[in-house]
């Protein structure tokens, strides 16, 4: 018989070690689908590692992929901390990107130190508004934000499509539904010459550190934690749950919007409906892997990005489906969830005695 006994206070080794162990196990478990696909396992792992870390170029690609994942991961982490279930980061990302294109493709111009903050603020503001609406519906009318934010994703994508066919369409695109390019002064400069990794990465890292400090050390962070952990007690103590939720919505939506700005102004240069391969949804996985810790989001985004980039390159080299990457990430999530359970509970497999 298996019994579970709660652990009173898990130590730091358990808290930090378990996610790492879970990620490792998930990668090892990938050997099973690889074997089923008939691929040479050792070689496949080698290709995966070299695909993500093998050269400056591959590392740069991995970091480029990690940048939006850090931001959407933070968006999910802060929202989930407050028990605001924002599933709409994908839509907020696209709206942020569209706002950046709207102000950053030539309507106004100025030096980079003006234009870059302008596109960032525009994208974050629109992203924030995208989540404040559903949050007000939740706090005022009790409308489930999971439903509203999820469905808004599809509305936003269709809206973006409509705009790309109409008002925002680039007349020079030869019929492709894409926006006019971001002007040079608003584009995020690259970090390395002839590489794609750009200052969006630095912005994401700074955001993670700032968010960690914000949550841990400020009055607002205190109130967010209180509302998230026990809204009834927070309300009783005089914290305004509605105001706190709106602040969280602004932060979460803003960070998701920033991910869109970073993609459009840093990676792609213009807006199209394939700007994000689901970064908004992947952000949820990243946040869960990180157990909603802002600093942990950096590590888990790097992990997820290297799995994606590594598996991509491996699958191209030996002809295995690149869905393998999704599989590994999903397994990692499962492992972390199981690991989280084992952190909180001690397992006894014994039947008779329970000595020691």
């Amino acid at each position: 018989m298996i019994r579970f006994e709660p652990r009173s206070n898990p130590g730091p080794l358990l808290v930090y070690g378990v996610p790492v162990l879970a990620a490792t196990i998930a990668i090892l478990l990938a050997a099973i689908p690889l074997a089923l696909a008939g691929a040479p396992i050792v070689e496949a792992y080698g290709l995966m590692i070299s695909g993500a870390f093998g050269s400056v170029f591959s590392t740069s690609e991995m970091l480029t992929r990690a940048t939006p994942l850090i931001l959407t991961g933070l968006a999910a982490a802060i929202a989930f901390r407050a028990k605001l279930w924002n599933i709409g980061a994908e839509g907020q990302l696209y709206m942020g990107a569209m706002a950046a294109v709207a102000v950053g493709s030539g309507v106004i111009d100025g030096p980079s130190w003006v234009m870059i903050p302008v596109v960032i603020i525009a994208g974050m503001a629109v992203g924030a508004l995208m989540l404040i609406g559903p949050t007000l519906l939740k706090t005022r009318l009790g409308v489930d934000e999971v439903v509203t934010t999820l469905l808004l994703n599809f509305i936003v994508l269709l809206f973006v499509q409509m705009m790309l066919e109409g008002a925002l369409k680039d007349p020079m695109s030869m019929g492709w539904p894409q926006s006019e390019p971001i002007i040079d002064s608003a584009a995020f400069p690259a970090l390395l010459e002839r590489m794609r990794v750009h200052i969006g990465l630095l912005i994401a890292l700074v955001s993670a550190v700032a968010l960690a400090i914000f949550v841990k050390r400020t009055v607002w962070g205190f109130e967010i934690r209180a509302v998230g952990e026990n809204a009834a007690a927070a309300r009783f103590s005089g914290i305004s749950v509605t105001k706190t939720m709106i602040l969280v919505a602004a932060l979460s939506g803003g960070l998701a919007g920033l991910a869109g700005v970073s993609e459009v102004a840093g990676t792609r240069g213009y807006l199209a409906t394939d700007l994000s391969p689901g970064y908004g949804y992947a952000g949820i996985v990243v946040a869960m892997l990180a157990r909603l810790s802002p600093i942990g989001v950096i590590a888990s985004a790097l992990f997820v990005a290297s799995v994606f980039v590594g598996a991509d390159s491996m699958s191209r080299a030996i002809g295995v489906s690149s869905y393998l990457a999704d599989l590994i990430v999903a397994m990692a999530l499962l492992c972390v969830l199981i690991g989280g359970f084992l952190t909180r509970f001690r397992v006894h497999f014994d039947r008779k005695s329970a000595q020691g």
Partner: protein, 538 residues
């Protein structure tokens, strides 16, 4: 005591349950230390102890939820032979005829009493349900014990006392020979508690063994045959109830002398809060008030007596600043309150002790220090430019932990590690440290052990002595009669005029709580302290 008949028949023949040398450790903590306990057929044993004394751990071992590190649990089989109960197997305990009635009932509210009782005993795959045999068996049980309840009513329509009867019937229906009741009277009116005791005595007379986990001493003395006292995980005393007295048991439980709470005479000052004709209509009586007039004055404890769910929640929400009246006015120090807001109330000297301290009183994952400062983090004392001053927060916590004797690993420990009594001390430290002018104490000692209760009472009396007005909402008549200066009764959203405690008759109070008797001088009461609209009290 009706124990005489049983004390003589304690032969090994009648032995039903024997716990021998049961020890359970959780890391450093010894939750149970070599505990011996026996229960005989037809015997009611009271298991007394403060929170954290090890009562729950011991029962969890009995039920197979935990495995004891040392010691054995032996149960007499139906043939009378003693057999060791398989450790860590809840099913074995059930099969051996051990039934449990939890403090929080485990009933499906939308099903009838009968459904709840037979739930899980019927085969799943059967086309037609034949319940005539179940009904016959239950009718027999009811007739023999006085456990009368309408089994065809959905459970949510039953009173708390009736729900408890359904729980007991459920255990008996499953052929329980030993019934364990966890704090059975916590939710009952005095009258309901008395009738429960009568039932338990009848059941015991038919051979059922009963263990009552309790901390209310008066009740234990009234119903049990034998008392076992746990303290700090060890059994510190065991006696026949006929040999026990109130004071000696209390001292055994706490391990030191318990100071009796006593009011000293004090002339009340001017009104602190006045509710005039306040109506809050939220549809159901639980959350509504109808034309309520209440005044609490400086240096006075105003007790609000009533059975749970009669509008206490609405009154508490209002005074806590979480709700505003539909009509009527609230004045604090003669000024009409226009902004009903928990933050404003807390900052303006209203100390609020919530009814459900786990749910409303603390954020479990946050630290003890953060929980103590939670009402005040926005004040300049604890933050600069929005950044928390952890040094100040910690200092206050250390001070509070020492002053209020909050037992915890330290200010940085998560608050969820604290026991119920210590959570209440934490809340007292949070709100009383600021010398409040008005204290709302909603069930402040519910679920607390004797020691913690007397601590809460001491603190409230101290604040009263210091000139604070206290509104004490409680279902515990002993508590109300001990520390209140005046008592008003709340029933179905109406509140009677306040009566001086010394003039109150206990049984009369019970009837008023049940809504069967109006306040003695309701219709023409002088508008001195508390009045109710004529006609509203009927």
């Amino acid at each position: 005591m009706s124990s005489a008949a049983h004390t003589s028949s304690e032969t090994s023949q009648d032995l039903l349950l024997s716990l021998a040398g049961v020890t359970k450790r959780f890391g450093q903590l010894v939750a149970n230390n070599a505990i011996d306990l026996t229960v005989h057929k037809g015997e009611i044993v009271a298991l007394l102890g403060e929170n954290g004394a090890g009562k729950t751990t011991l029962m969890n071992i009995l039920f197979g939820h935990y495995v004891a590190d040392e010691g054995t649990v032996t149960v007499a089989g139906r043939d009378g032979n003693l057999e060791q109960l398989e450790p860590g197997a809840p099913q074995a305990a059930l099969d051996a005829g051990i039934g449990m009635v939890h403090q929080h009932f485990t009933l499906a509210e939308n099903l009838t009493g009968l459904d709840n009782i037979v739930l899980g005993t019927e085969p799943i795959f059967r086309l037609r349900r034949d319940r005539s045999s179940a009904r016959a068996k239950l009718a027999e049980l009811m007739a023999g014990s006085g456990l009368n309840v309408d089994l065809d009513q959905p459970v949510h329509k039953l009173t708390v006392g009736e729900k408890q009867r359904v729980e007991i019937l459920k255990a008996l229906y499953r052929n329980a020979r030993l019934l364990v009741l966890d704090e059975p009277t916590a939710v009952l009116t005095p009258q309901e508690a008395d009738s429960l005791f009568a039932i338990l005595r009848k059941l015991a007379a038919t051979g059922l063994a009963v263990i009552i986990i309790a901390h209310k001493l008066a009740e234990v003395l009234a119903v049990s045959h034998r008392i076992a006292v746990l303290r700090g995980g060890a059994k510190v005393g065991e006696m026949k109830t006929s040999d026990a007295n109130h004071k000696s048991i209390a001292e055994l439980m706490v391990g030191r002398e318990v100071p009796a709470s006593r009011r000293t005479a004090r002339t009340p000052g001017k009104p602190v809060i006045t509710l005039a004709d306040v109506t809050i209509d939220r549809g159901d009586s639980r959350r509504s008030l109808h034309g309520v007039n209440v005044t609490a004055r400086e240096g006075e404890i105003l007790g609000i007596a009533g059975v749970s769910g009669n509008g206490q929640a609405a009154l508490a929400q209002l005074i806590a600043g979480l709700d505003k009246p539909d009509s009527g006015t609230v004045e604090i120090f003669g000024e009409k309150v226009t902004k009903f807001d928990a933050h404003t109330f807390a900052q303006n000297g209203i100390a609020r002790i919530p009814e459900d301290r786990h749910h409303d009183g603390m954020v479990g994952s946050m630290t003890v220090a953060e929980n103590i400062a939670i009402e005040d983090v926005r004040s300049a004392e604890y933050q600069k430019l929005g950044f928390l001053d952890f040094e100040a927060i910690r200092k206050r916590a250390e001070h509070a932990i020492a002053d209020y004797d909050v037992r915890c690993p330290g200010p940085d420990a998560p608050a969820r590690l604290l026991s119920g009594g210590n959570i209440q001390k934490l809340i007292l430290a949070r709100v009383l440290e600021k010398s409040p002018k008005l204290i709302l104490a909603n069930q402040p000692s519910r679920g607390l052990d004797v020691g913690a209760q007397s601590e809460v009472h001491r603190r409230l009396l101290e604040a009263r002595q210091g000139g604070a007005a206290v509104i004490l909402i409680s279902e515990d008549l002993d508590e109300l009669l001990t520390i209140s200066d005046q008592i008003a009764v709340i029933h179905a959203g109406h509140i009677t005029p306040a009566m001086p405690t010394d003039s109150i008759d206990r049984s009369e109070l019970g009837l008023m709580m049940a809504g069967q008797k109006a306040a003695p001088h309701a219709p023409d009461a002088p508008p001195a302290t508390t009045t109710t609209n004529p006609g509203e009290t009927a």
